[in-house]
Subunit: 536 residues, 2 copies
């Protein structure tokens, strides 16, 4: 058995070979923190390719369905941009553009011959987190010990996406163990944030977040057990949805903590466009995933629920804003984003009330205990065959507990009916995705790890969507004088804030609904997004 | 702290006081094995009460809604019959007829004043397994250690049933620990089978099975983690449904093995009439249980699915019969019931193919391991406060493993599409509920415990309904010559069979569908039931 570093070197070599050499570019100098402009200025993409990659998912699908753009040219454009993105922020793991182009050509051919699309995602390039197995490829999930394990079949979700006409073309980077909100591992290294490469893109779906922010993919699939779709979506300024357990099939994918059934990881969409989330969820739900994965919930896309049948048809909604969770006070730009959103919703005619947080600390401790129970052993066993080290920040034992599991505080939500004026309980909660924007690399140490603005909803199995609001602006987001700290941890988070360090980081928020109410969560997020656009 | 036997004596004394003294009867002599005729011959119920208690759930609800029968008289009739049943087979735990009659009077009053019913279960008496907490009452679940613990609130399902207009009036007996297919515990003792009191009614919802078989309740709620609704339904000759996880809310009920999330217990209906199952499921699903229990699945009753939209509208179905599971060969009456059902379905124009069992033994071992992992400790901790003994047959450790957990053998079902001739995979599986009819008391020992004809479907989260086919008839069900035994265990089960000992025991079968497909499972069971009736 070679030393683990030799395995890494060989794997990295193969990854490099999977990149068309003519697509290698000279990256900007390291002093360039914001690299978001580079893909369009580097010269690799022509004007049409730039136009294609700047197009939202719904429009892409229309142009593909009418053959105005071919699947081959769309796949080529996104592939080029993805490879540029990778050279900027190190976001990819498996790269299989050759397969993707072959599939794209088949789709073009089918459309030409039949005049019909293969399915609702016909020709759409799609990126996948490095857990979603594809036949004939490895799924290392950042573990050296999994190098060389070639899959014998696709994950169920991959099969479904392909049947819907999507074109998988790259897989994206993750943290070792997946249980970490920064993205680094011993094979592929660290992924950085395109808005400010000194910051993390978040994790664990950090490769997706960074790639999509650079428009190297129109739609990606991440997974979320404690915030792993939402943290990178929020840190990278894109849209992302954490669906309820079982709404998107997990069968046949690789994962950490197999057998931990108390708080489950789920797959969900990440995209530049809010429409992307809806299109993905509708396509997956209507493909009857429950016939292929017995743990998938038998619930088709419900158009009535999307039209907010359970929320007064959406004409007059009551949102509750959670300004802080009673554990950690959010940084100034987060608070400002909540104020912007509140004003926009009121201007649009909706009601906004305050949400009283309940027992977030307890939930965090319980979830931490659940995950810590078997994680050290799980990670140790997985890494033992090659002797690769466990990255020190990922040793969860004794870490500030990462999360929660706890159920019947449902009553608390139901009880809000008395203050909404709609006859219903609060329609949705709007809250931070984290108490901070994207943090500098390495800040998620024992001291600073705090994921409970997202994890609390995993523990309750509430679906939640991320939407962008603003970016960190040192002139608007100056450091505030110290507040009355909840405890030393809250103080540490307060002291971490420095407007200059966080400069230009996207600021996103989270909209939270109730279990299996994905349709309504998406629609209400569309309403908030439109209100924000109208208020600008 | 008094000795545990003193606690039992005091509790039993209180139970006796909760029975109206004028309803005490002289039971038949112990030599009378079949006591099913006694409630109507004992003289306690008048002709109208006998008529009421012999009426199916759908007709009862119609007569209640039109005030042809009052809720008070219906509740009185079932209460009387339940008390007679209890004196025959020892099926009740908590008896609260006074509360029930007070609620029934309120319902009568409401209907009189408004001309409207309170809900879809208006005035229907309903019995509950001794897990479903009711405010102000104890829920001992057969544990001496839980005597004197009075509940502060109702279980969510109890609240929902009451909102729907149902009238809870008694709770029913369970085995200590719930994890056992006979029904006995140190407080209330053993429940017997009304068709043959030398046999078990099954368990763990054995009190429900025995009570409903004697028509002491038109509809009851049992729970099922490995067969606990289906075994007693099958052994007592009634209908029962094991729904998928989360279709019926569990929140606020007592349970064993809390925190074991791999194979979950579910609540479901048991009834004399198949309509009872549908009426219960529809009422519960349409009450939006997910707003009260975040683990309840957001899925309303789907009338399209009930009309078999996913099964060619039910005109021509293909059923697969599993004759044995490859582990234990069923006894002769069970085989005969499968033959009867096959012929009836073919006569009704449906197709019947053979089901090839897959990995039942492995599933059984895995489930056994899951449950055994924490069960000994769970039971020990629960019983330790009073020192009550753990009934020896319930010490699971080293027992023949009780069950399974295992998922993606879904493919096996999908693969049947090639042989059905419908273009679909097999619509449902029909199989035994156990390899035997109701067994003599105490047979579920380390040697004979075999629940995997039911448990396998829990592990896969497939919904399954029990329907009656015939009864054990020594002239038709003579002992067969030995077959080629799978192993010694199979041989032991073979040798247990004696037509005279099992005489008159009901023989039921199980119809199995796919996850969250309760509507279709009920409809297909109606189709099978009608075919059986038509073929007689």
């Amino acid at each position: 058995m070679p030393h683990w570093t030799a395995l890494v070197a060989e794997k990295k070599q193969r990854q490099l070979k999977s990149i068309p050499q003519e697509w290698l570019v000279t990256p900007p100098p390291p002093s360039t923190l914001d690299v978001t402009g580079f893909p369009e200025s580097c010269g690799l993409l022509n004007a049409r390719e730039i136009k294609i990659t700047n197009t939202s998912v719904d429009v892409l699908l229309k142009k593909l369905a009418t053959a105005e753009w071919t699947a081959v040219e769309v796949t080529t454009a996104f592939s080029k941009r993805a490879i540029v993105a990778h050279q900027l922020v190190n976001c990819l793991t498996e790269i299989f553009i050759d397969r993707a182009l072959a599939r794209a050509a088949e789709l073009d051919d089918y459309l030409k011959k039949t005049g019909k699309v293969v399915g609702p995602l016909h020709g759409l390039p799609i990126s996948l987190k490095d857990q979603l197995c594809i036949k004939g490829l490895e799924t290392t999930m950042g573990y050296v010990s999994w190098i060389g394990q070639y899959e014998e079949k696709n994950a169920v979700l991959v099969d479904i996406l392909i049947e819907c006409g999507a074109v998988p073309f790259v897989r994206t980077n993750v943290p070792q163990t997946l249980m970490w909100p920064e993205t680094l591992n011993s094979i592929f290294g660290r992924t950085t944030n395109p808005y400010n490469v000194s910051l993390t893109p978040g994790g664990s779906s950090g490769g997706e977040g960074a790639l999509i922010a650079l428009k190297g993919s129109p739609l990606g699939v991440g997974s979320d057990i404690g915030g792993s779709i939402r943290a990178p979506s929020a840190f990278c300024g894109i849209y992302g949805l954490r669906p309820s357990y079982g709404r998107v099939p997990y069968c046949g994918a690789r994962n950490s903590l197999e057998g931990e059934d108390s708080i489950l990881s789920v797959f969900g969409p990440m995209s530049n466009s809010l429409r992307g989330l809806r299109i993905f969820m509708k396509a997956v739900a209507n493909s009857k995933p429950w016939l292929k994965d017995p743990l998938a919930v038998r619930k088709k896309w419900d158009e009535d629920e999307y039209e907010l049948a359970d929320h007064g048809s959406g004409k007059y909604l009551c949102f509750a804003i959670m300004w802080d969770d009673g554990v950690v006070v959010p940084h100034p730009p987060i608070k400002r984003s909540l104020e912007i959103t509140k004003a926009a919703l009121q201007k649009a005619g909706h009601k906004v009330v305050d949400w009283k947080p309940i027992k977030h600390k307890l939930l965090e401790e319980i979830a931490g205990n659940i995950w810590n129970a078997g994680s050290a052993e799980d990670f140790m066993i997985t890494t033992s065959s090659t002797g690769e080290p466990i990255i020190s920040t990922m040793e969860l034992e004794d870490a500030h507990a990462m999360t929660p599991s706890f159920r019947p505080k449902n009553d608390h939500w139901n009880a809000t009916a008395s203050e909404t004026g709609t006859g219903r309980a609060v329609d949705a909660i709007i809250c931070p995705a984290a108490p901070f924007a994207a943090t500098p690399h390495g800040k998620f140490t024992r001291v600073f790890l705090y994921c409970n603005y997202t994890t609390v909803w995993n523990a309750l199995d509430y679906p939640a969507a991320i939407f962008p609001v603003t970016t960190v602006d040192p002139t608007l987001d100056g450091k505030k004088p110290p507040h009355s700290f909840y405890d030393d941890f809250d103080k540490d988070i307060y002291e971490m804030y420095d407007p200059e360090k966080f400069k230009n980081a996207p600021v996103c928020l989270q909209l939270v609904g109730r279990t299996l109410e994905e349709e309504a969560v998406i629609k209400m997020t569309e309403i908030v997004d439109a209100a924000l656009a109208a208020a600008q």
